[in-house]
């Protein structure tokens, strides 16, 4: 399959009062269409910074970002971004929250509204559309946040520790939900996480970054050889713990 996203020699330097810090150094990565890539690395290695750069929220110091053979230098409409918090606006109903992106981009037309309604129906939130965020569970809120992002029809989704604010049980459930939605909608995904098991259970590939300045240390293909793979059922396979041990060593937490 063809590459949808290419990162070429991405570097990021922060200028501060007491000098400059090199946060990312020479990151190279190609992501295929429809692929799910997890990125892990020791804390402070700049993995979230990398996502912010791809999203166009932060400037890179060097390098190129290419999406579908086109170099991008600012916020691209092809990219959706999901943060750790669901960031639903408490004063709006779920439906109004979901239309937020369309409203900001000034493309809230009948066609897109119908598309949004369809997504709500498909993913079990339609009957909650007139409720306010505080009336929904954490898992439902996260699903609503994903639908808000999907409404603007991104080709690539960036997940920045998107599940780490949830409690363990909800997290397993939401991971399952979101994985299915993303595979269903055939969205290419780049996920940053500090949770190795999450990275393995969702990723087609896992990218390991070194500690600061972050650069690609290793890339692992994840293959469970099971039909209808989901984050939950691949956790039960014996290969899962093999991957875990390999990545645990690769992260070098003990060092």
């Amino acid at each position: 399959m063809e590459d949808i996203l290419e990162l070429q020699n991405i570097s990021k330097k922060y200028q501060q009062k007491n000098g400059e810090t090199l946060a990312l150094m020479d990151i190279n990565l190609n992501v295929k269409k429809g692929e799910f890539v997890s990125i892990i690395g020791p804390s402070g290695c700049g993995k979230s910074t990398l996502l912010s750069i791809i999203a166009g929220l932060e400037e890179k110091t060097e390098g190129k970002i290419i999406i579908e053979d086109e170099e991008i230098n600012e916020i691209s409409p092809k990219i959706g971004y999901m943060l750790q918090k669901d960031c639903l606006l408490e004063w709006r109903t779920i439906f109004s929250n979901i239309l937020f992106g369309l409203e900001i981009k000034r493309i809230k037309n009948a066609e897109n509204i119908a598309y949004a309604k369809n997504l709500l129906k498909k993913y079990g939130l339609y009957e909650f559309k007139d409720k306010f965020p505080n009336q929904l569970s954490g898992g439902m809120r996260q699903r609503a946040a994903l639908i808000r992002t999907l409404c603007v029809k991104p080709k690539i989704l960036l997940l920045d520790e998107a599940f780490s604010a949830l409690d363990y049980q909800t997290r397993i459930k939401v991971t399952e939900d979101i994985y299915n939605i993303l595979k269903n909608e055939k969205i290419t995904t780049l996920m940053v996480t500090h949770d190795i098991t999450e990275a393995i259970s969702m990723g087609d590939r896992v990218v390991v970054l070194t500690k600061r300045p972050g650069t690609v240390k290793a890339i692992y293909d994840i293959n469970f050889e099971i039909k209808n793979r989901t984050p939950l059922n691949c956790r039960e396979t014996p290969i899962f713990s093999n991957y875990f041990n390999i990545l645990w060593k690769e992260l070098g937490v003990d060092e």
Partner: protein, 266 residues
């Protein structure tokens, strides 16, 4: 309904009644004691006034021109209050918009905030004349800086993650202001309304103290000078009632906004 639930509700109701009745008892005891002590001559009602004397003032308020003075004070307060809020909000928006300006003006705001604005009284009178205008300016001077600081602080503390979320959809600064920052700060806004009721009253009354032409502030100074303590006490009671009514109006506004949001956002 279970027995336990009934008991719980009963207890809740009892507590509510207890609080209210204690409040009434305190008020009645205070007024009763005041009246009795004045009546028996234990305290000098010439200096302390008494509830019955205050009622007498209210009973023939036309001869005291009370209504005129009340009207003047209400007019000045409402005008100072409104201008203070509107101007303060506009300046806060400008400072939020421009990081440069907010950095430049920060020390000035801090100093002006600490400065007792009453000290500006004579200057204000000389600049705008000893009249209603000066009193309104005084009310604005007292409430404006606090309003700016309060609202700006609320704006700057808006959840950064939510602003980031809006930015991922390529929101511009105006959209961030109108769709995130302002709606997220309605409670900040209501709070500064509440604070401003008291502050603009301070401004108006101290303005009337200095200028002494009309209004409850004038009545208080006048009453003090000619030892008509009944007049002073009556004016203070009216001020209390006025502040209470304004506070109630803001609370009503708050409720209305919350309800409006629940129904009308689609």
């Amino acid at each position: 309904m279970s027995e336990e639930r009934k008991r719980y509700l009963k207890k809740q109701k009892f507590e509510k009644i207890l609080v209210l009745s204690t409040q009434i008892v305190i008020l009645v005891t205070f007024l009763g004691l005041w009246e009795a002590l004045a009546n028996k001559g234990i305290i000098d009602s010439f200096i302390t006034s008494s509830p019955s004397r205050i009622i007498k003032i209210f009973a023939n308020f036309s001869s005291n021109n009370l209504l005129l003075h009340i009207r003047v004070t209400i007019y000045e307060t409402l005008l100072g209050f409104s201008i203070g809020i509107v101007l303060g909000t506009i300046i806060a928006i400008i400072l939020w918009w421009s990081n440069f300006l907010s950095k430049v003006f920060e020390p000035y705001l801090v100093v002006l905030n600490g400065l007792p604005k009453v000290a500006l009284g004579p200057i204000i009178i000389i600049w705008v004349g000893a009249g209603t205008k000066a009193i309104i300016v005084m009310a604005i001077a007292i409430s404006l800086i606090v309003t700016i600081l309060e609202i700006l602080n609320g704006f700057l503390n808006t959840d950064k993650e939510i602003i980031k979320m809006a930015k991922t959809f390529n929101a511009n600064k105006f959209q961030i202001l109108t769709k995130i920052v302002i709606p997220a700060n309605i409670s900040t806004f209501i709070n500064s309304l509440k604070i401003n009721i008291g502050l603009s009253l301070v401004g108006v009354i101290s303005g009337e103290f200095l200028i002494s032409k009309a209004g409850l502030g004038y009545l208080i100074t006048y009453g003090g000078q000619v030892f008509k303590l009944d007049l002073v006490m009556s004016s203070i009671i009216i001020l209390g009632i006025f502040a209470g009514v304004m506070y109630g109006a803001v609370a009503l506004l708050e409720k209305t906004i919350i309800n409006y949001r629940r129904i009308n956002i689609k």
